[in-house]
């Protein structure tokens, strides 16, 4: 009743895995029982609750194993956004006298908006700049740290360009200076291996629906000993750090997605790398196309390009009409397509940022789909480029647009007797 089926798309292709991913079959299968018989509340003492509680334990362990950490360090939330909010606001409330925060200019809107909120609370925020290749200036980071720095929040990999930040080095600096470090790993989990046993990150946020799990659930890794105040108070769940009855079906989904990632991650990574190479070599052969961040270390599933003379909006709509789903990098819930905020923060012009396309693939993407995407992309670009050469001048002339109908007064009088022309058929 709620899901539409369209008849106008023959063979739709989905290439927007960074926006969200479809569920893995095993994830769906594992979630269903908890939507039916496994409905118990994990906090209840009786048989229904016990069953639920044990499943919750197993899911928590699965996520912990993915990062090589302890179960007690994994906290479940409703989303990556909530995890980010909890990490940053929780650190702020735990240490209210430390009012300086450091983050980057290319973070996900969730991170950026929370920092805007911090500024409203009277905090000072330093936004580290990122260059055109996506690289972070580690000197800038080191020099920004002050005595009252509460938290450094740097993403693992960028949601638009796929560029991976040098988290090893960032950890080294944060540890040396004694500042808490939060990493938004939402776009990295499931794409590259993250071992928190070796990486001394204090807080890590992730979201299930970016790696074949369901929407509505995320997690926050909180290293033992890290001070954090809760965002959502309630019934004491998650060791009093996040109230609310645990949404078991979603959490189980996250757990299974984590299991799958643990087992298949490197195999997937290899396959995706090949697709990335195949796609990018074809795209770079097109005149005017540049792959952003090519020279940096990137996740294997993301390709961000800019293209001369063709606007993102036109590309997106035309590709959609051919059944191909991609993104321009900037997603806004009102549906407006604007220039890529990340590219602008990286120093690209507004024009370049409005000519960007993000193609992100996943484990269900085939070589044929990549080939078809490139074919349709070329057709669309060819048509749009030709069209733009004939675009009307957008400056408006308010005067009459057909002066041939303004005869001189005397002519008008002499032609007054002429009969009207034949009114023809309907259009």
């Amino acid at each position: 009743m709620y899901l539409t089926t369209w008849n106008y798309y023959m063979n739709p292709i989905y290439l927007d895995y960074n926006a969200t991913t479809p569920l893995d079959q095993v994830v769906l299968d594992g979630m269903l029982p908890f939507l039916k018989d496994g409905f118990g509340n994990p906090s209840s003492v009786h048989w229904a609750g016990r069953r639920a509680r044990n499943a919750l334990l197993k899911a928590r362990e699965s996520v912990a194993i993915l990062f090589s950490v302890d179960s007690s360090e994994i906290l479940f939330t409703s989303s990556g956004t909530e995890s980010i909010n909890l990490a940053i606001k929780g650190s702020f409330w735990a240490n209210p006298t430390k009012r300086h925060f450091i983050t980057t200019a290319v973070e996900h809107p969730a991170t950026l908006e929370v920092h805007n909120w911090l500024a409203e609370q009277g905090c000072e925020v330093t936004y580290l700049s990122v260059d055109k290749s996506g690289a972070l200036d580690l000197w800038e980071l080191e020099n920004s740290i002050r005595g009252d720095t509460n938290l450094i929040s740097i993403m693992f990999s960028n949601h638009e360009t796929g560029v991976i930040f040098p988290i090893n080095e960032v950890c080294e600096i944060a540890t040396r200076k004694g500042v808490t470090l939060h990493c938004d790993a939402t776009q990295a989990v499931g794409k590259i291996g993250i071992n928190l046993n070796y990486l001394p990150v204090d807080l890590l946020s992730l979201s299930a629906h970016k790696f074949y799990g369901p929407k509505g659930v995320g997690a926050l890794f909180v290293r033992y000993g890290t001070n954090l105040k809760p965002l959502i108070h309630g019934g004491g769940q998650e060791k009093k750090r996040r109230g609310g009855t645990e949404p078991l079906p979603q959490i189980i989904g996250l757990g299974i997605a984590a299991d799958v990632a643990t087992i298949y991650q490197s195999e997937n990574e290899d396959k995706l790398r090949e697709l990335q190479i195949q796609l990018e070599s074809k795209l770079e052969a097109i005149n005017g196309v540049i792959v952003i961040g090519k020279e940096s270390r990137r996740v294997p599933n993301t390709t961000m390009i800019t293209i001369n003379d063709v606007a993102s909006e036109s590309l997106l709509l035309n590709l959609d009409l051919q059944g191909i789903a991609v993104s321009s990098g900037a997603a806004c819930s009102s549906g407006k397509i604007g220039p890529s905020a990340v590219l602008i923060a990286m120093g690209y012009s507004k024009e370049d940022a409005s000519h960007a396309l993000r193609i992100s693939y996943g484990k269900f993407t085939t070589e044929e789909e990549i080939d078809r995407f490139v074919k349709v992309f070329c057709e669309v670009v060819g048509r749009l480029k030709k069209h733009s050469n004939f675009m009307e001048d957008l400056r408006v002339d308010f005067k009459s647009n057909n002066p041939e109908f303004i005869p001189r007064h005397s002519e008008a009088l002499s032609r007054a007797e002429e009969s009207p022309r034949d009114r023809g058929t309907n259009v």
Partner: protein
């Protein structure tokens, strides 16, 4: 697709006729400042959702596209400037001429489309000499040809008006049969970007220097009656809101932006015998229209009256009415008809009395 019943049914008819339809809603105004939910104002956030859902029902692709900048530059700018000059604008004409049937058409071409179809009540016919003729809709009460006089042949050649031969009740009926959520939706009234109809306040917000530009309200023989707070608060023919209590009713006869004066008079003084118009657009050569059969309309809701062309050159047109007409307002459009065909129109410079 504005989210109203007319554009919803138009979309359905286009699809039924066998065209490959793509639904577009133009976002022309930034609603992020709205805290109240607006109904019947056209193009508010919930209207976009209505359009979206109708597109889903009709099984056609749907896009909400940003036209804020062109709309601001081509429609809203003109609107406030006209009020500043003491004129009463009709932004809907500029929206049609420059945004809907030009900017939107360019977008449509980018998407591979060949026509733009709207829910306007108007008829389009093609004659044997390949010329397009804009005619009044079947439903004369709803006829919107008045707002379309600014389109040229090229624009008309890629426009479709599916509702031209239907009455409003018939359109609602079709919507009901399709169970479209917009079937019982109220008509949107007034100008879409000023939902509370407080045009003076809108102009003041956009042009703050216009606020409290005091001036005089005078009679036709120059006698000063009282002060006013700005000429943008008035329109020719207006009776209320003059802030004057006199024996007989007084009407605005003219507005002079140079002296910042509003001239008022009694009922007989607000009758005009003709007008001067400029920036004309002719869809049909006016010299081919038989003497005495040209009629004109000086307001959307005014009746057609016969008129004669006194003089015409490349920029201005002077006409006289067959009988005096009330309230000819500078800034409004004068649209000409020959029988049921809209032959062209222009912008009223000033009304004449003789």
């Amino acid at each position: 697709m504005s989210g109203g019943v007319d554009s919803s049914v138009a979309a359905y008819l286009i699809k039924e006729a066998g065209y490959e339809a793509i639904g577009i809603t133009m976002q022309v105004f930034d609603h992020s400042g709205d805290t109240k939910h607006r109904f019947g104002s056209c193009c508010g956030i919930s209207d976009y959702d209505d359009a979206r859902m109708v597109a889903e029902k009709l099984d056609i692709p749907f896009y909400l596209l940003d036209f804020e900048k062109p709309f601001h530059d081509l429609v809203i700018e003109n609107f406030v400037q006209e009020y500043k000059k003491g004129r009463t604008p009709i932004p809907c004409v500029h929206c049609n001429t420059h945004v809907k049937f030009r900017q939107l058409y360019n977008k449509a071409k980018e998407l591979g489309a060949s026509w733009v179809a709207t829910g306007h009540y108007a008829k389009l016919e093609k004659s044997s000499d390949d010329r397009f003729h804009l005619k009044k809709a079947l439903d004369l009460n709803k006829d919107q040809s008045y707002f379309l006089f600014g389109l040229n042949q090229e624009q008309l050649s890629h426009t479709l008006f599916p509702l031209g031969n239907l009455t409003k009740p018939e359109v609602r009926d079709i919507a009901r049969k399709l169970s479209l959520r917009t079937a019982e939706k109220d008509e949107s009234v007034g100008i879409c970007f000023v939902p509370d109809k407080d045009y003076a306040k809108f102009v003041e917000k956009k042009l703050p220097d216009v606020k409290n530009t005091k001036g005089e309200i005078v009679t036709t023989d120059g006698r000063v009656i009282t002060q006013h707070q700005g000429i943008h608060n008035f329109t020719v023919g207006q009776r209320h809101g003059l802030g004057i209590a006199t024996g007989s009713p007084l009407y605005v006869i003219s507005i002079d932006p140079e002296t910042n004066r509003v001239v008022v008079g009694n009922e007989t003084e607000v009758l005009f015998t003709g007008l001067t118009a400029q920036d004309l657009n002719w869809l049909v050569d006016p010299s081919t229209i038989p003497e005495g059969e040209l009629s004109c309309r000086v307001r959307y809701r005014a009746a057609d009256i016969n008129c004669n062309i006194e003089s015409m050159d490349s920029s201005k047109l002077k006409i006289t009415f067959s009988k005096p007409h009330r309230a000819v307002t500078p800034g409004q459009a004068v649209v000409f008809y020959y029988k049921d065909e809209c032959v062209g129109g222009g912008w009223i410079e000033s009304g004449h009395f003789s």
